[in-house]
Symmetry: C2
Subunit: 244 residues, 2 copies
């Protein structure tokens, strides 16, 4: 059966995450409902990254198989006409039959946004973590550099999904500030459950002077969970891109 | 009685405009409810600009009188703790007793945002007008210049509120583009009802090649309403600042 790939963007505010759940509305359910309407057959989609409730996406990738060969442009347009306004198809097209969005992903790019202004920016209230405190960006950047490379991130995950290994490679972790908005950008070959949010929470503690760069290095080298920081709120996180 | 001035920001998506209405939820109602809770007395607020349903604000100014003298910082913090998350107090403080936000305003700055991308930006869906068509920005800018200065804007308003004169002065009208986002910025001594949205609708027609700059000049010089364009949707409009 022909396989299709969709790049999708969504505002996660109104959803209980990507993945299907029995009693909660998810992005997967909204997407499969639209596909059912379009194709007239039940279609299951698989996503490259299973974003949690409140997490957003600019470049989530999903794949599915369908018997009908709808050209990419028409597929995109038709789905955007059916989908709720908080889910948008960015790209659509047929791919190799054996393509699977999750299995074939070589890496991912996430951003985490912090609103560091003197009052909360109303327009970012669902897309950032509001933190009016002073943050030492130089120290945060210095500490962020420790995470780059191949490491065992077992101290920087939430218990939950079992994984074969907790070793991952972060290609880059940059911190930029534009007016009151601080953006942490993570690029890596894969991320453990809540890893981006836990690293963010840890770096914020460093920025506040409540954790030393040395303690973070200790957590990273020896897996000491108590040196890692708390998990940052979901709403600041966004899956920007999936790398293939 | 002491008079207080608030600079407020709000996401207008969930409100039927600023001004109180019998059967619809407005920003004024939310604000007065918070003030009642804080002061324990019924307080009426007046706003510099009465934004319509769906219109946003970054720098709306309201004034009110109250018997209690709450210091600005405490007033701001207390109100932000009570108000719904889509209304934020940016600044608060006591002002001269005779200050009135509307009467004393010397001018206003509005922006109008157009999402001109190949697909709608999910995060701007409530804050911009989605227009995927080609827009000739050079022509729009050339035409925008006609509006600058003192003119009779009677062709660029919506019927509704009676005014003494339809002459207004626009100090500047700039059009900038950043990636897919086009922002029109209006600064003037005052604006007629729906004037910013009608000028925007007209400039879009020019950008699409459906109206000539000459026709717009005609509408401006002779008040010919049919040469003006349609009113752009409310959600792209934002009251940025009130000048005193």
């Amino acid at each position: 059966m022909p396989t299709f790939k969709l790049v999708i963007s969504y505002d996660g505010t109104g959803y209980h995450g990507f993945q299907y759940q029995e009693n909660a509305y998810t992005v997967q359910e909204a997407l499969e409902k639209a596909l059912l309407k379009l194709y007239g057959e039940k279609i299951r989609v698989g996503a490259a990254g299973r974003t949690d409730a409140g997490v957003h996406a600019r470049g989530q990738v999903v794949s599915f198989r369908a018997s009908d060969r709808i050209p990419g442009d028409r597929l995109k347009q038709a789905l955007n006409g059916i989908l709720p306004r908080d889910i948008v198809i960015v790209e659509a097209g047929e791919v190799a039959e054996d393509f699977r969005s999750r299995r074939d992903a070589k890496g991912k790019v996430y951003t985490y946004s912090i609103d560091n202004g003197p009052y909360p920016d109303v327009f970012l209230r669902n897309y950032s973590w509001y933190l009016p405190c002073r943050l030492d960006l130089a120290r945060m950047r210095e500490t962020a550099a420790y995470f780059v490379g191949e490491h065992d991130f077992k101290a920087f995950q939430a218990a939950g999904s079992p994984v074969k290994t907790t070793v991952r490679t972060i290609y880059s972790l940059t911190i930029t500030k534009n007016n009151h908005l601080i953006v942490l950008r993570f690029e890596g070959n894969g991320f453990l459950y809540k890893m981006v949010r836990t690293i963010t929470g840890t770096l914020v503690k460093v920025g506040q002077g409540k954790r030393s760069p040395g303690e973070v290095l200790e957590a990273l080298r020896n897996g000491v969970r108590r040196y890692a920081g708390p998990t940052a709120p979901a709403k600041g996180l966004c899956l920007e891109k999936v790398l293939y």
